[in-house]
Each structure stands twice: as structure tokens, then as C-alpha cells.
């Protein structure tokens, strides 16, 4: 009840930090999709690039997030603004699930369907946009879903470098040894993750080829 009262009293700030959080996650996911989906398409068509690309994305994932934020801090243009830096770092983390699922989704399209399309005289781009991507879309989206859920959690750490978001409450609460303040950040973050998971999951089922 205490917590509820705390959040109500600070509702402006809860809302503001939630929006900041959404902005970090939204921009980074969008960027990761813009980079990751074409990369996934690329390695599905030229399999010899598949190992190096997936390995790089994998290595990025193994870097502890706090360390990655730290590494990027001295980079000139990036380090100038904490939110820029946070968005880049989150984008890097979101790449792996998106690239991997785009690749898996496209590889999973029935070879007979692709061959029939090619044999009928579809151009490679017609084949990609009318056949392969629509058939892979639900697998690709499930990668996006994983990326968003990871990002919502990771974005709380971005507060450590002053990028804002719900992590502010968490770090403040930790410093104040006040559970209410920690939860005021953690609970909306968890809700965001659940909501995104549910939303994209719904979209995924809607777009599932019959």
C-alpha cells in the first residue's frame, strides 16, 4: 500500500521515466530491426557470411552491459549524450535475436515453394518480398519480441550512465536502501516487458501464414 501511495505521489516522475524508458527501447529496437533484418536476409542468401556475422552478434551479447556502456563512454559524438550511447548499446544487444531469427525464418521456408517461385520466373526481390519474408514473418517477429524483452530489462542499467529511464528509480532506491523506490522502477519495467511480449506475440499470431 505504501508503494502504491509512493507511486501515486510521484506519478509525474513515474510517467516521465516510463516514457524515457520506452523511448530508449523503441529507438534501439527500431534501429536493431533496420540493421538486423537486412543482415539476416543477407546471410540467408550468402551462407558463407553467416558464421562471422552471427559470431560477432554473439560476442556483443557476452559483453556485460555495464562494461559496454563504459567502453562507449569515451567515443566522441556518442559519449556527448548518455541517451545516444544507451540507444546504441541497446541496439547492439538487440541485434543477435533479430539477425538469428531472420536467418532461421528464411532458411525455414519450404525449399519446394522457393524453387517453384524461381522456376515460374519471379525475380529474386519478388521472391523475397512476396514469398520468403511473408512466410518467415512470424519467426522474425518472435526474434523482435525477444529483443524487446531483453532491452526493457537492460535499459534499466542505462540509468547508471545517466541516460534516464526507469533505472533511475532502481539506482536511487538502491542508494537510499528504500524498497519502495526500487519497486517504483522495477514494477513498471516488468509491466512494460510483459506488455511488449504480449503485443508482439499477438502481432506474430496475426501475421502467421495459414
Amino acid at each position: 500500500m505504501n508503494l502504491f501511495r509512493f507511486m501515486l505521489r510521484n506519478h509525474d516522475q513515474v510517467l516521465e521515466l516510463t516514457l524515457e524508458h520506452l523511448r530508449l527501447v523503441g529507438f534501439s529496437t527500431l534501429l536493431a530491426m533496420l540493421i538486423g533484418i537486412p543482415l539476416g536476409i543477407g546471410i540467408a542468401h550468402w551462407p558463407r557470411f553467416n558464421k562471422p556475422v552471427l559470431a560477432s552478434a554473439n560476442i556483443i551479447q557476452t559483453i556485460p552491459s555495464l562494461a559496454l556502456f563504459g567502453f562507449l563512454l569515451p567515443v566522441p559524438w556518442l559519449g556527448a549524450r548518455a541517451d545516444r550511447l544507451a540507444i546504441l548499446a541497446l541496439t547492439l544487444y538487440a541485434l543477435l535475436p533479430i539477425i538469428r531469427n531472420t536467418y532461421t525464418g528464411l532458411r525455414g521456408v519450404d525449399a519446394a515453394v522457393v524453387e517453384a517461385g524461381r522456376g515460374m520466373g519471379l525475380t529474386e526481390s519478388q521472391l523475397l518480398f512476396q514469398v520468403e519474408l511473408p512466410l518467415a514473418v512470424s519467426v522474425i517477429l518472435s526474434g523482435v519480441r525477444v529483443a524487446i524483452v531483453i532491452s526493457v530489462g537492460l535499459a534499466t542499467i542505462a540509468a547508471a550512465i545517466g541516460a534516464g529511464g526507469l533505472g533511475e528509480f532502481i539506482f536511487r532506491g538502491l542508494a537510499m536502501v528504500d524498497d519502495r523506490v526500487i519497486l517504483a522502477g522495477a514494477i513498471p519495467a516488468a509491466l512494460l516487458a510483459l506488455l511488449a511480449d504480449f503485443g508482439v506475440g499477438w502481432l506474430e499470431r496475426r501475421l502467421q501464414p495459414r
Partner: protein, 258 residues
Amino acid sequence: MQATAATPVIEFRDVSYRVAGTQVLSGFNLQVHSGETLVLLGRSGSGKTTSLKLVNRLLTPTCGDILVRGMSNKDADLIRLRRGIGYVIQDVGLFPHFTIERNIGLVPKIEGWPEDRIRARVQELMQMVGLAPETATRYPRQLSGGQRQRVGVARALAADPEILLMDEPFGALDPLTRDELQREFLLLQRRLHKTVVFVTHDLHEALRLGSRIALMEAGRLVTVLSPGEFLRSADPLAAAYVRAFGKGLESAANRGTS
């Protein structure tokens, strides 16, 4: 180059195909004439499907040349070449996310036909291959195997290609449906006079549908015979096929004891 009546519609000239160190096809020479159904008969791995895919350049020969209407298909525009050749495969390869209507009308659509002309053509084709009009708005997975294969044939015929390549199109069907589709194929072919290359390993199908039968073994063309000649042929492989086929029925009837 203008093709004349005497020019074969498809001609293989000394074609070889090798992939990953395996010689799939060697010294292959064959002519397919306008309006005939040429059956490529052979066991799996004999190079039938490879030969077919060389025609619409899903594969490129290691050496030799394939002429389509008198012109090497290497020089043809790849997309134009393929759109002028209907292609039917055993797995059908219907687009699962398209309705039957859209599947059949795809090539006309990407060729930029007006909507009403596509619709009329799709209706005509569905009737031609014996599909009920109400299947138009269904999806492939809602259809039986026989119906799907009919859609595959209709789709291949959509832009009225002169040439039809069929890779064991009826191979995965139950015997009764296969018989039905073979009969309809003959009726259709009597009307349309397409130049058809038909791949099968089934002698019965080859004899029934083919104007000529090209017998293949281990990447080589053994002989080309009419169905009548095939049955009387002294060629050891052709004779072996005929024997196996005849014995197949007999021994099945005698439960394999003969």
C-alpha cells in the same frame, strides 16, 4: 532467331552437368518437338530432374548448350525465359500464404495483366483443370493432394506458356487420383498441344502419357523410343523395365512368390 516448324522447341546439345565432383549428366543430346510429350524415364539419380532444371536454368550446364526455340537459353533473359515455361513439381510448391486464386494468377499478375483479365483467366483455368469455383478463395492446406496438384498445373498454364516442364507431378498421389489426373492430362494435352517434358520413374505413366520416352541411366541417355517401340525393344534396360513392370503386377497378384 525465329523458330521454324522444323526447329525443335527444346534441344540439348552435348550437355554435361557436374556438381561437387559428381557427374550427374554426361554427353546428353536430345530434341523435343513442338506439341509432343517427351517423357524422361529412369530411376532416381539417373539425371531426369537435372535435365529438366537445365531447361529453365534453375541449373546451369557444366558444358554443352540447351536451345529453347532455337536460341541458347544462356543468352535468353532469365526471367522472360522462365515465365515462358510452365513448371510443375512433385511437391507442388504452392504458396501457402496465397489463396488458390492468387496462386494461379501470380504470373499474370507480375506480368502486369489487368485485374479483370486475371480473374477471367483464373476462372477459365480452374474449370479447365476441374477445380470447383468455391475453392478459389481457399488456401492450399485446405485442399486435398489431388486438388493441390490441379492447382499446380493451372498455375503453370496461367500465362499460356508454349512449354511445360513437369517433374513427377503425380508421383505423390494415391493410385486412383493419379489415374484420374493422368486421364485429364491427356484430354488437356489433346486440346492445348503444349510441348511437354515429363519426368517420371513409373513405366506405366510413361507409356500412357508419352509421345516418346527417353530412357535414362546414370546420367546418360540410353535410348529414345515411342511407347509401342519401348514395349518391343531389345535394349536390355528397356526390356528390364518392361519385365519388372509386368512381373510387378504378376508377383503382386501371387503375393511375391513367382
